[in-house]
Symmetry: C2
Amino acid sequence: MPKINTNFNNRTVEYEQLLSDFKLLLKKNNLKFTIQREVILETLYNSDEHLTPEALHHLIQKKEPDLKTGIATVYRTLALLEESDVVTSLSFGAQGKKYELGAKEHHDHLICTECGKITEFVDEEIEKRQHVITDELGFAMSDHSMQIYGICAACQKKLKIEGK
Amino acid sequence: MPKINTNFNNRTVEYEQLLSDFKLLLKKNNLKFTIQREVILETLYNSDEHLTPEALHHLIQKKEPDLKTGIATVYRTLALLEESDVVTSLSFGAQGKKYELGAKEHHDHLICTECGKITEFVDEEIEKRQHVITDELGFAMSDHSMQIYGICAACQKKLKIEGK
DNA sequence: GTCGCTGCAAAGTCTTTGCAGAGAG
DNA sequence: CTCTCTGCAAAGACTTTGCAGCGAC
């Protein structure tokens, strides 16, 4: 498959915008706009979570049971979307890949190991340092992910009260 | 029995220390100290790279061909070591996990999505900012991990030559 | 001797691929 | 109409598991 041309960037975009960009992308590469591809994009857009291919497939089956979308199509579309930088895949530790729309704003994660709550944050200083580091090594950064694990303020309080 | 490695390097834990900790861990859990487990630990210790289970298995077969260590044992031992926080696993892009000794100094990772090579780095600025962020939010940080994805200098060169 | 460990092979997972018919352009 | 896409099922890649004999303690 030829290298995909893309017009996407990292700004937060509305769905309509995303969709028309996607159609343009397809047209440019002589690919077809199918119901399946639209449903996959829409489901990704409407999810706030990082989805595994399987989770995405489940959501789609629930939303559009008549389509009988195959898991193979989900994988193929995710590969296409990833190559076009529409979605980003992340491996969060344990198993499998998870996908999220790359068009959403970048953020890092604070993860409470007590209650599982995930807080998003962005720190300009850190972002800057990352560029300094990669520039120094001639590394072309495409993405990064950072997770800080610990116990959130609420849980610390709770644990204190419980005398643990 | 494999020889103890006495090379001078900058690891925070010497092999003998690691080995005796490992033996203690096994004893505590009523597990047995076997040649296979020792060879796996030693091979991990002597490798400067992040190893896939398969790569580790290959190294072991080359080093101790008479043992005929099975890949299943490698997987089982890695799972044991990971659960005991002796090794850490990293998942990078495409497929499979890679393992490294967790007893080394803390560091973050630069991951080349082209060749899979992992480069370690530590940046004091970033470490400091993490503390500032968590302190501000009253979050008790216990650990963190950061991965920067992109294309390493060597692969950029290679891709350029291939005209991609 | 006991009971956990090991190698082997078989069974699971997860992901990709080949194919013939369906469908977008 | 043409040529890409799709679902299905089969194949691959990677990892785990069942089992019978082996070996640490």
